[in-house]
Symmetry: C2
Subunit: 353 residues, 2 copies
Amino acid sequence: MKVAVVGVGLIGGSIGLAARQRLGAHVVGWDPSAGALEAAVARGAIVEACASLVDAVGDADFAFVAAPVHVLAGVVSEVLAVAGPQCVVTDVGSVKRAVAGAVSNPRFIGGHPLAGAETAGVEHARADLFTDATWYLTPTPNTEGSAFERLHRLITRIGAWPTAVEPETHDVIMASVSHLPHVLANVLVAQAARVLGEERLPATGPSFRDVTRVAGANSVVWGGIYAANADALVAAIDDLVARLSHARDMLAAGDAAGIAEWNDGARDDRRRLLEAGLAGGEVHELRVLVPNRPGIVAEIALALGRETIDIVDMGLYPSSGSHGTVALWIRGAVVAQQAERLVRELGLEVVRA
Amino acid sequence: MKVAVVGVGLIGGSIGLAARQRLGAHVVGWDPSAGALEAAVARGAIVEACASLVDAVGDADFAFVAAPVHVLAGVVSEVLAVAGPQCVVTDVGSVKRAVAGAVSNPRFIGGHPLAGAETAGVEHARADLFTDATWYLTPTPNTEGSAFERLHRLITRIGAWPTAVEPETHDVIMASVSHLPHVLANVLVAQAARVLGEERLPATGPSFRDVTRVAGANSVVWGGIYAANADALVAAIDDLVARLSHARDMLAAGDAAGIAEWNDGARDDRRRLLEAGLAGGEVHELRVLVPNRPGIVAEIALALGRETIDIVDMGLYPSSGSHGTVALWIRGAVVAQQAERLVRELGLEVVRA
């Protein structure tokens, strides 16, 4: 298996390391920076630094585009133009609507691993960066089922949890759980640094360090993310300000009961969010009889993704007739039952293996 | 040395463990909950569960009051009423104005270690909870110099960094770097849990988990903190909302240059905040000739604390005449020079050892 990494920074380099160490893949790389390519080879993230994009992706089985969000659609299109017909192309951008709107190719599936580190650059790449991380995928009705299956399996095998989602939903979620925390971190360090003028810098406790860890992330990368998701982020800020104002008014009024109820609610919300990421149990197999038509795999994946059901693994078994079979492995008996119900609601027949 | 811990939870228990393991102190405890006392003995945080407050503090050298903020002033007063004349009394509350306003005793010094954990209760107490943590102390002009010196040394020996600060300044700092992050964590989990209705809980990335780690902290403890520091917290929220609105308007206007400048500023602010906590270098000794009058030690400690200068260790050498000597150990040549200048500005004579 040949994997091409287009853009060898922290994320691209970690994909290369994981594909080499976990799958024994032949990993090659391309990057506009010769220095980054050299560092990637030195790090062992790629075994070959390619002189051109076509050298990297022409005969690759997978191409991962890890470029800044503001140039993503252009680079993905260039990769698709020179990739062979066997090549599944994906990206790792933090915003998905722009690339999804610009690229419509059955072999392209947008992606976004929820992983990162304080330190950028391929010299900090790690094979385990994606272990147990959610990896969003944005298949569309136009997506080739076998391309989705192959990418899904690859991501599972490097240790992450693929979850299908619509690009619009993805961007709203990210505005709230990633981009807004970055904005807040920036605002909080600015406030703390100036709270007592320039003379005294306050000692900072653990909660402050947690909240501000991502302050002042790389301006090129994050400028692009903020711009690409500005509308969703503005809406998230407006909602946050309204919620802050509510808490502020309770504090100003000395409303102890209201504060306690609000705080208890936050505890419950946090527990629900954590539990959603911690579903466990045995893996169950569902076999779904599907018509041989485009988009059916994306439709199933998105239906389960909407209910936060992770597909541990999947397999496509096309037949020569009008129908084929999709096997889905789902963790936990209750979740598997829920998945079965959702698939039936799509009008499909399910067999429990 | 006998140390009494009044209130044996996570913080009180960790003080007990640290005093036993690092100083070989005889540590006793009192708590309104018999179950908590039992657990504290089982954990090894105290060696003796006292039946009454006077049993615990009557002949103690130090009493640490670790009670919720809303009952703090009352408990500290009770402890001072039954503690012997040799006993230095302090507390660990997260808000300092209320207790400083209610208690005026030369042997009481307010305190607040910037340490904590996600998990409350003495069963999670650790001897190293305070290692390298800032430990705020709020001496007043009324504070007995030798009481401050003894407490300062004790806290240094359990591994923390004592820093003197006025109660008002402490509460403004905490509103910004601790209480506001807690409010934000609450608001963010509520937003994320509801961003897509009840049907889909979004997967959350590392930045979101960092920001929301403290969401829904114990309502009894935090209700008291919010109430005691409501005015400073309301001001911090108002400032935050103004800063958020500024960022929001730049995003909505697509002001890429403004966003980049703002983001770079946050990076610089974060670096300054981190560097302030990482001063290094050799320890230098300053000897200060001081008049034998009350409040002089607090005055020196506060003057250095205002400039974020940590006193690594201190020693008091009273003489029978009108003057004595205070020895200060300061880390780093430049910082020691700055400290010398500040002490001279108080009208005091300094000798470099």
